[in-house]
């Protein structure tokens, strides 16, 4: 299942960027080739999280991006019941798509400056909505 999500995340990341590059040119200075799916983790206070990193090894600079999703999404997709109020609304398919789009928007913004990746501003909201509509 984790391989499937890694493939999904990267396919969307690549396909979406290709469309933007065709229309607006290659204006992504820190574009990383892949996004790692860090796996599902249990949490009661977040839906998803993104780790953005920069590693310098001699003259080589590597930009890394990693997305984690709450395991409650996997439970909900598997049809498990929960005592959490509005469980299917909070962790259903629609919310999963929204969360993937939200985390991918962080990754895309980090392609410009790594610090941009932590913003939850208007531009991040607009990118999230556009990626969600693309999905």
């Amino acid at each position: 299942m984790e391989t499937y999500f890694e493939h999904l995340i990267n396919t969307v990341y690549q396909a979406y960027q290709e469309i933007l590059i065709k229309k607006h040119g290659n204006i992504y200075p820190l574009r990383s080739a892949v996004i790692k799916f860090g796996g599902f983790q249990l949490s009661y206070n977040w839906h998803g999280k993104t780790r953005i990193g920069k590693e310098e090894a001699g003259n080589l600079t590597i930009h890394t991006k990693e997305i984690h999703l709450n395991i409650l999404f996997a439970y909900c997709l598997a049809g498990l019941k929960s005592d959490i109020p509005d469980f299917t609304k909070l962790f259903g398919f629609r919310k999963l798509i929204n969360t993937i789009a939200h985390e991918l928007a962080h990754c895309l913004m980090a392609n410009y400056k790594l610090n941009f990746g932590q913003k939850h501003d208007q531009r991040h909201q607009e990118l999230t909505q556009d990626i969600e509509a693309f999905l």
């Binding site: 920069k54 410009y112 790594l114 607009e126 556009d130 509509a133």
Partner: protein
């Protein structure tokens, strides 16, 4: 019996003009900022509150 699916507003794609402005504003801001030096890592945790901001199904009152 006819089943009508529950209608939820679908998010809309940005126009080419809006997207170009958004990308250029990011690039401009990035160009103006000093280069980030050294190795480092950031973890962005997205709570339900952050998600709600970018969810088109939640309308602001």
């Amino acid at each position: 019996m006819r089943i009508t699916p529950k209608e939820t507003p679908k998010p809309k794609r940005l126009s080419d003009k809006q997207m170009r402005e958004l990308l250029l504003s990011l690039k401009k801001e990035a160009d103006e900022m000093p280069e980030e030096e050294g190795s480092f890592g950031i973890e962005v945790i997205c709570s339900g509150k952050d998600m709600a901001k970018s969810n088109p199904t939640k309308q602001k009152k």
